[in-house]
């Protein structure tokens, strides 16, 4: 592959990463990955969620150190130990969540950390001039250096961030999903800007899920799959669906149990709900999957259904209940939700396993409004045993458990509460394979139970999982939920085509 990149007559590689490997404990995130970008080139880095893109970029930006492998910048060895080293060497990351100080002005942000000073006093005029020069060079004279960044729209903020990168002398720019918060028009202008950076000899790494964008802006693409290079080539010569095939790669493994299920009464009916412009129904004894990439609006839809986010319009009927809901009411009506943000929302990690597991239903663990710790522990231990949660005791602090065990605690909360409708947002994100398999088994057992089977609404950006466990699937893309179809009518390729908007591109 290295030879293919060094075809004669083209500019030399500005940044190259060779044989980069990185493991977190037993999980191999990157296995001998190569990536090289020439000056004046936009290289798209594509791959499914969890393919290793973010890890590779963190290594490039000096936030993580590789276990092995070599990096060169402009032909000389490059081994940043901290993000600041990378910035000084001329490598800038532009993240999805913008890293600007919202209360400072445009010029203050652009020179932040590298302010021109005399005797420790910031030279404001020099700072403004430097900022103005950077903005002018990008062809955006309309942006005022004295504007407060927090008041600017996302597209302008992104521009400030790019100006900061170029003003500090960055030669390599890596953009992580830069269009996720942009309108179509702003995306077009961003592409103009990237072409300009290209002409000025910068090397750009462009990370995106969206095949249409990759086709529009990149010269070359590199595909990562399961932490390895899965292919690459010239973007212009490769059809969209071939790129998708490279991203998908393998066929579905036999990780997913599927016992005979019988869908019966309707438990949840959603009718033209906004956010999400979603209409579907969920029956007892079935798993309905919502596929979509990160940022497609799946979580907002779930939160609206569960009463955690406002419903703009449309109707939700859960069992016999209609109308507005709160999480408190939803639990009472027999619906429980698993949050995608395990540490931030799903669990109070500073509290014990027992407190987390029984948190939604302390009723019945003592007379009246009392909670007896012994009953609480007994209730928790029942699920600790059933799910094989590895902890010292029910009173162990949840933060001390591994990711997989924490997730089992979060799932066990829904079982302890004994809800009929389980809303699961990314239930297997970031957990080990053994725990994953256990959660799949559990979900399967719940919906195929002979007595009172449950209904499951499952959101995931990991498509093999959806195809493996769901009965029916709908795809969410750019904030809209598509039609629900039986799982037999989907495959990984078609899910990704719909989710990434590739169908529109080809």
């Amino acid at each position: 592959m290295a030879e293919a990149l060094n075809r004669s007559g083209e500019s030399p590689e500005l940044i190259s990463m060779r044989g980069i490997s990185k493991a977190f404990g037993a999980t191999v995130a990157l296995d001998a990955v190569d990536l090289a970008v020439r000056a004046g080139e936009v290289c798209a880095l594509v791959g499914q969620n969890g393919a290793g893109k973010s890890t590779l970029m963190a290594i490039l930006a000096g936030a993580l150190a590789p276990d092995s492998g070599e990096m060169r910048l402009g032909g000389v060895p490059y081994a940043p130990r901290r993000p600041l080293d990378a910035r000084r060497a001329g490598v800038a990351m532009i993240y999805q969540e913008l890293s600007l100080a919202p209360h400072l002005t445009v010029s203050e942000n652009i020179v932040l950390g590298l302010e021109p000073t005399r005797f420790g006093v910031v030279l404001r005029d020099r700072a403004r001039a430097a900022a103005q020069a950077a903005l002018d060079a990008l062809g955006h004279h309309e942006l005022k250096p004295d504007a407060v960044v927090g008041a600017l729209p996302p597209a302008a903020q992104q521009l400030v961030e790019i100006a900061r990168a170029t003003a500090t002398g960055a030669r390599v720019l890596a953009l992580d999903e830069p269009t996720s918060s942009l309108a179509l028009d702003d995306t077009r202008r961003l592409f103009d800007l990237l072409r300009q950076l290209k002409r000025r000899g910068h090397a750009v790494v462009y990370i995106s899920h969206f095949i249409e964008e990759v086709k529009a802006i990149s010269d070359r693409f590199v595909v990562l799959r399961d932490g390895r290079n899965a292919g690459g080539g010239a973007t212009g010569e490769t059809p969209a669906d071939e790129i998708v095939s490279l991203m998908v790669g393998r066929s579905i493994q036999d990780l997913y149990p599927r016992t005979a299920r019988r869908a019966s009464e309707r438990l949840l009916v959603v009718d033209s709900l906004s956010p999400g412009s979603a209409s579907f129904e969920l029956r007892r004894g079935e798993i309905l999957g919502v596929a979509g990439l990160v940022g497609a609006g799946r979580t907002r839809l779930l939160r609206a259904i569960f009463g955690l986010a406002p419903v703009k319009s449309g109707r939700i009927r859960l069992g016999v209940y209609t109308g507005a809901a709160t999480p408190h009411a939803r639990w009472k009506q027999g619906m429980g939700m698993l949050s995608e943000d395990r540490g931030g929302e799903g669990l109070a990690v500073g509290q014990s396993v027992a407190d987390n597991l029984t948190g939604s239903r302390l009723q019945g663990l003592g007379p009246g409004f009392f909670v007896m710790p012994s009953r609480q522990r007994a209730a928790a231990e029942r699920w600790i045993d059933r799910l094989g949660i590895d902890c010292r005791s029910a009173w162990q602090v949840t933060a001390e458990l591994s990711g997989g065990n924490q997730q089992k605690v979060a799932v066990a909360r829904l079982l302890h509460h004994d809800v009929d409708v389980l809303v699961l947002d990314e239930p297997t994100r970031g957990i080990d394979v053994a725990s994953k398999a256990q959660i799949y088994d559990l979900i399967d057992a719940l919906v195929s139970a002979a007595e009172r089977p449950k209904a499951v609404l499952l959101v995931s950006s990991y498509f093999p999982e959806l195809l493996g466990v769901c009965d029916r699937i709908a795809v969410m893309s750019r904030g809209r939920l598509g039609p629900v179809r039986p799982v037999s009518e989907w495959n990984e390729h078609s899910l990704l085509m719909d989710a990434s908007g590739a169908r529109a591109a080809s």
Binding site: W331, G346, G350, Q363
Partner: protein, 321 residues
């Protein structure tokens, strides 16, 4: 295991700290420092802080703060005196004062949950509001009131036997037990820990956060009112200018006792020990003949040291596991 959890939750560190501080002053002053009469003196010194700190413990566990307790306490002394002067019985006067204080707390709770303003700001505002109301009601003067049994709440029992403590101390002990049981054995108590530990998780779990917060600030107000009744007992007048800065002593007791400003942690035993440490320093310094400024420096050092020590212990604990 349960023992371990008990010690973890109640803060073993603060109990050791209490023992160390007591031994130091015991060594300096001699065995008479531990005589029953002296211990009772210290207990009487600390009950007012203690009662208010019990409410503050609940507030801080839920991740909040209540700066209005000092002013609400002063308001409570004024209301007690005014009711007594108007001819009400002592029990009615005390209940009225506690009720008025609870109403102040309820207002705090409403503002915090409905206006979504942070507790620090809301209670900073009501701190001034309650102080102003107290001064207005009292016409900016001390309010004289007839003597009743309320005045003897903190007086040493007449027969002089050491075991029979003043009524105010018994009230404090009973309230402490009730608060401890509430925190540990009721849904409301467990929900307060959940909210303080991670409010988003509590919301996801269907905890009615607004109700809980409203309740906890009302309780904090009521207990500040009870502290005010005890204060009235000490002063035997209603005084709208007393207990300025009481909230800081109260917060210090909770923090020394292992409470965390980020919520989710704190205990009744810890808070009581924290209040006791401050009382020992106060009484010990004055009996040793040390000036007030020494006492303040020692207390200030202990507050910072207690929190720093706790941080260090947690950090090493997290690494060990």
């Amino acid at each position: 295991m349960t023992w371990r959890r008990f010690l973890q939750e109640s803060g073993l560190g603060v109990l050791i700290g209490l023992a160390v501080v007591a031994l130091i002053f015991g060594a300096l002053i001699g065995p008479q420092f531990f005589r029953a009469a002296n211990l009772e003196l210290m207990a009487r010194q600390t009950v007012i802080v203690c009662v208010a700190a019990l409410g503050m413990t609940m507030v801080i566990i839920s991740g909040g703060i209540d700066l209005s307790v000092g002013s609400v306490g002063a308001l409570s002394t004024v209301v007690t005196a005014l009711l007594l002067r108007a001819g009400a019985g002592p029990a009615i006067a005390a209940l009225g004062a506690v009720g008025a204080a609870a109403a102040c707390g309820a207002v705090n709770g409403l503002l915090i949950t409905q206006l979504r303003v942070v507790p620090f700001i809301v209670t900073l505002g009501t701190m001034l509001l309650a102080r102003g109301a107290a001064k207005g009601l009292a016409d900016e003067r001390r309010v004289e009131a007839p003597m009743t049994w309320l005045n003897s709440l903190l007086r040493t029992a007449q027969d002089g036997r050491g075991l029979i403590l003043p009524g105010g101390i018994w009230i404090t002990v009973i309230v402490a037990v009730l608060v401890a049981l509430t925190l540990r054995y009721t849904r409301f108590g467990r929900h307060l820990f959940a909210i303080g530990s991670n409010e988003r998780t509590a919301r996801l779990c269907g905890v009615r956060i607004n109700w809980c917060k409203w309740g906890v600030y009302t309780i904090s107000g009521a207990l500040a009112g009870l502290a005010g009744v005890l204060l009235f007992s000490q002063l035997s007048v209603g005084d709208p200018t007393v207990s300025v800065g009481l909230e800081l002593d109260v917060i210090a007791a909770v923090i020394i006792g292992g409470g965390s400003f980020s919520g989710g942690r704190g205990s009744v035993i810890g808070t009581m020990a924290g209040a006791a440490i401050m009382a020992i320093i106060q009484v010990g310094c004055s009996q040793q003949g040390l000036p007030n400024w020494v006492q303040q420096i020692v207390t200030g050092t202990i507050i910072v040291a207690a929190v720093a020590l706790d941080r260090w212990r947690q950090a090493t604990g997290a690494q060990a596991s």
